[in-house]
């Protein structure tokens, strides 16, 4: 009889441990199911809405433009056309902009510009990056032949974060422009 009672206790102990382990966290979190199973986390809720095309970009719109044109012009030696663009990172993680290209009108021609080197933007931070391209023939190499805020076309941007690569086309980037 004593042995069978002992056997009963030995068998019941794991069941009790498992039951307590389920009840205890619920009790500690005020019987809130979501709070106990998966508490709110900024990294889980950050994604949707931060970029146009993901969750409608509602959060992105609230936080202001992610891409704003700072100015354009010719390099000192007059051989290249440049466009300075400020990029803002609203996401809660560091982002690397690997590629950014655009076309701007320069006189009667259109110049294709590309980012000189990749830039890394910390969470919530911003950087000014320069897009460059060759000066088209026929565009004067002196003075300021380019508008300060030119109309951008053929926009393309590739960003990378945590090994995930995102390529944004014209429509997506237009939604991020000021």
């Amino acid at each position: 009889m004593r042995e069978s009672a002992l056997q009963g206790i030995i068998t019941a102990i794991p069941v009790l441990i498992i039951l307590v382990s389920i009840i205890l966290p619920f009790s500690a979190h005020g019987w809130d199911i979501m709070g106990t199973v998966l508490p709110a986390n900024p990294f889980l809720s950050a994604g949707p809405g931060l970029l146009p095309g993901i969750g409608g970009g509602a959060k992105a719109a609230q936080q202001g433009p992610m891409v704003s044109i700072q100015g354009s012009g010719l390099s000192e030696d007059g051989s290249r056309v440049f466009l300075d663009v400020q990029l803002r990172n609203p996401m809660p993680m560091r982002v690397e902009v690997k590629e950014f290209s655009a076309s701007i009108p320069a006189g009667s021609a259109v110049v294709n510009l590309a980012m000189v080197q990749p830039v890394s933007i910390p969470s919530g931070g911003s950087v000014v990056c320069r897009l460059e391209g060759p000066r088209p023939q026929g565009l004067p190499s002196r003075g300021s032949p380019l508008p300060s805020t030119p109309e951008l076309s053929n926009l393309k941007m590739t960003i990378s974060s945590g090994g995930i690569e995102m390529t944004l086309d014209q429509d997506a980037i237009r939604g991020m422009l000021s």
Binding site: I18, S21, V37, G163, I164, A172
Partner: protein
């Protein structure tokens, strides 16, 4: 066979596979995760075992209080089962405690195998759910089952995302499978096999049904396989 047996008591009657499996069961909860799954390099990293669930997003750990509590409970329970398996394997040497020894091994030895099987099934179900979710989202991508790398292309309005997915079992899982097999061996060893010293040295002998394990001269006959059941 009895004629060859010079000694079949004391340490020879310990359940050696059970002893080793029991010690391994006590250590195993403190080893690494069994399986890992990563989106990107560190965008989302999941490291799983029944004893730990680590979810990290961009280096930030996401903790579920319920899972953390269940992991701790499973750690305690399987250390407990390890203890029972050790106790049952050692008590097998004492004829008066044979029934309790068999009970302890019976209760503890197969649980870990079930845990490993349940874990493998859970991983398969997770991969299946991920693939079904991709199909529902219209993403033409397949995550390989259990092990492997893949690139998941996702296209949304104006945005194309390429997500490298990596998953695989770790060395700790291999150890877990070996321990599960050893625990199963211990379960069958308990009632059916014994170590005996013969003229040619130590040998494993199958306990014949209805024949006592103990050599002649011992007061109590050993419980047989059939009696245990």
């Amino acid at each position: 066979m009895n004629g060859q047996v010079q000694e079949s008591k004391g340490i020879y009657r310990l359940n050696y596979p059970g002893l080793i499996a029991g010690i391994a069961l006590v250590i195993l909860p403190f080893l690494d995760a069994w399986w890992f799954f990563a989106f990107g390099t560190d965008a989302v990293v999941i490291a799983l075992s029944p004893f730990q669930v680590v979810v990290e997003s961009f280096g930030n750990e996401i903790i579920s209080p319920l899972l953390a509590s269940l992991n701790l409970a499973l750690k305690i329970v399987f250390i407990y089962y390890g203890g029972l398996l050790i106790a049952g394997s050692v008590l097998r040497a004492r004829e008066d405690k044979r029934s309790m020894a068999d009970f302890l091994v019976r209760v503890s030895a197969r649980k870990f195998l079930w845990l490993v099987i349940f874990f493998i099934a859970s991983v398969a179900v997770s991969d299946f759910i991920i693939n079904q979710a991709f199909a529902l989202m219209g993403v033409h991508a397949q995550v390989p089952y259990f092990i492997g790398d893949s690139l998941v292309p996702i296209r949304l309005a104006g945005l194309s995302v390429t997500v490298p997915v990596t998953q695989g079992f770790t060395d700790a899982f291999t150890i877990a499978v070996l321990v599960a097999i050893l625990s199963l061996v211990a379960y069958f060893y308990q009632g059916r096999v014994t170590l005996v010293r013969t003229e040619r040295g130590l040998r494993f002998r199958r306990i014949p049904t209805g024949v006592p394990v103990a050599p002649e001269g011992e007061s109590k006959p050993a419980k047989t396989d059939d009696q245990d059941r």
